[in-house]
Amino acid sequence: MTKMLTPDAATAPAASRRPMIRFARLKDLALVPAILVLVLVGILIDANTFLTPGYLLGAVLQPQTALSLLVLAEALILITGKFDLSLESTMGLAPVVAAVLVQPTALHGLGTEWPAWTLIPVSLVVGALVGAFNGLLILKFQLSAFIVTLGMLITLRGLDNGISGGNSLFNLPPSFLSLGFESWLGIPIAVWIAGVLFVVGMVVLGYFRQGRALYAVGGNVDAAKAAGIRTNRVTWIVFVIGGMLAALAGILETGHLGAIGANMGEGDIFKVFAAAVIGGISLNGGKGTIFGALCGVLMLGLIESNLTLLHVDGHWFKAIDGVIILLALVLSRLTTGKAQD
């Protein structure tokens, strides 16, 4: 006796049936004009400086490499529908742990004096362990990622201060510093590394099932599970990779600066989120591309280097930086055309 009475819905003109230009592609490119404008502004401010490779590589790109790896890590985690505030502390902690195991006590080491080659692997392992621990708390105990990683943000920074005694760790082995310091074919190794990792990220997330799984998990975790994806394992792996990328960021930054300051990375997480979101990554998961994230990093980097090039007064630097970031956020909202959540 129950009958459905709407036979003609199929003939109704559905708006979505219009042939559509490749929406995803266009949106991806949305920030490219903005980046070009920023480049142009840089040239207008001081063409002689801006157009030298030394400036572009040394003052614009190289200083963004560590941040860019944090953004890559955060992008992966956000796409999977999670959140990580602790990346900046992981970046600080990982090389510190490796360094105190290697350095002699005179240079604030623990006295274990492990060989120098352990520095990079130990850093990466520390990063992986932090990510694994975050993942464990979030997945096994079903705690909010925001909250877990907020607690870890504070705890890891505290461990960093405790282990290093608040000292900068210097006189590190050159092999450890070279990644962030040396160049190859005229381009800083750090830029090569960041570049390669971003390309790998784009290919895996664009063309591999394993990468597409991140979007599925972030878009609808129940549906992903129903489609046969091991959602917990995917999420956990992403946290581990995120931790390792943060550790690598720490290694690059150490080489770039020549020593590990006790506050390395402190306060960076806000910029990481700003870059990711400007780049079109959604805080709700399942949306955004690695290319977009890269554009976000480049935009932030260009904004800051242009402000420096302009010699903006230090007292107003932050305010102007903030307003431009706000504008960029609004712009990226308008170009993607959708309400944010």
Binding site: S168, L257, G314
Partner: protein, 327 residues
């Protein structure tokens, strides 16, 4: 781009070559004074100073700023790295490119600089220790607001204060309070200690700019703000030498401060930058401006400027920079 036609004894790009200056932060009274003095002295000394940059408390920004200044033609750099380790690579690069560096306020842990312009921060801790030790007659309880232990200045002041107390005044109990240079933390710690030990007799605050007002508020609200003649007076030694500290000394609210010479920091930093461009060199020993140049190792020289202890007796000295600005 930084081709250098240096003279044999170093880098002599000419006295008129541009000097790049980076300020470390814009949110502290002490550094704001320094920021005001720098262009003033640049004019006086005839230094061709570029528009300064500001690294907003971030050593990464300092590194990028230096790179920018260099790209824009700086032939000498004046900087104040608050993180003394994480500047090593930059110094190494600048050395390779024969750009002399003068650091202010801090001495880098590693790397070559032309001159360090600084006051002896260990001496600050010692001066404060001696002042309190004498006033308290070698016994009693003292609270110390430590600066951030991740900064060399915080560590130097803390270590020197501790060493001096242990050695000279074993009868004095010191409560070390970590504050991260934050007034709110000092306030809560002082409140706790005063409740636990109402007989606290002395306070050493490592930065007057941040700790002065909160300390006075707590002393006031716990009725510990008493004239020096009162037997329960709490002796307060501060550090920095900003005008507010002098006003408090005049009122008898605090007893002393170390004047960290913001004006001389600016003046001598620029002086040495220019000297570097002119190809001059310096030797350890007394200087003509009431200071000593010390060889601090690996070929680095440090001009240790005088940082006088200011008490009621000399607080009105016109020569003190805190008496020259603002008021």
């Amino acid at each position: 781009q930084s081709t250098n036609t240096g003279s044999p004894n170093g880098s002599a790009a000419g006295a008129n070559a541009p000097v790049g200056v980076d300020f470390p932060r814009a949110d502290s009274d002490f550094w704001n004074s320094y920021i005001k003095y720098v262009p003033q002295f640049a004019k006086d000394l005839g230094v061709n100073m570029m528009q300064p940059t500001n690294s907003q408390n971030k050593v990464e920004s300092l590194v990028a700023n230096v790179q920018t200044l260099q790209s824009q033609g700086a032939k000498a750099i004046v900087m104040a790295p608050q993180d003394t380790g994480a500047i090593a690579t930059t110094l190494q690069r600048l050395e390779q490119q024969k750009i002399p560096v003068v650091t202010v306020d801090t001495r880098p842990d590693q790397g070559k600089v032309y001159m360090v312009v600084r006051a002896d921060n260990k001496a600050y801790g010692e001066k404060a220790c001696k002042f309190l030790g004498d006033k308290l007659g070698g016994k009693g309880k003292v609270v110390e607001f430590q600066g951030a232990l991740s900064s060399i200045n915080g560590r130097d002041r803390s270590e020197a204060f501790k060493a001096c107390m242990t050695q000279n005044y074993p009868g004095i109990t010191v409560f070390e309070e970590p504050t991260d240079w934050e007034g709110a933390k000092a306030s809560a710690a002082l409140q706790t200690r005063l409740t636990q030990n109402p007989d606290i007799k002395g306070i050493y605050m490592q930065a007057g700019g941040v700790f002065l007002a909160p300390t006075l508020q707590v002393l006031k609200s716990t009725s510990h703000l008493l004239p020096a003649s009162d037997p329960n007076h709490v002796f307060v030694v501060s550090n920095d030498g900003i005008p507010q500290e002098y006003a408090s000394i005049r009122k008898g609210e605090i007893d002393a401060t170390v004047s960290q010479p913001a004006d001389l920091y600016a003046k001598w930093a620029l002086f040495y930058a220019k000297a570097a461009l002119e190809g001059k060199t310096f030797q350890p020993g007394r200087t003509d401006h009431d200071s000593t140049i010390v060889d601090v190792g690996n070929g680095n020289l440090e001009d240790q400027l005088a940082a006088p202890l200011v008490t009621k007796d000399n607080v009105d000295d016109k020569a003190l920079w805190g008496n020259q600005i603002g008021q």
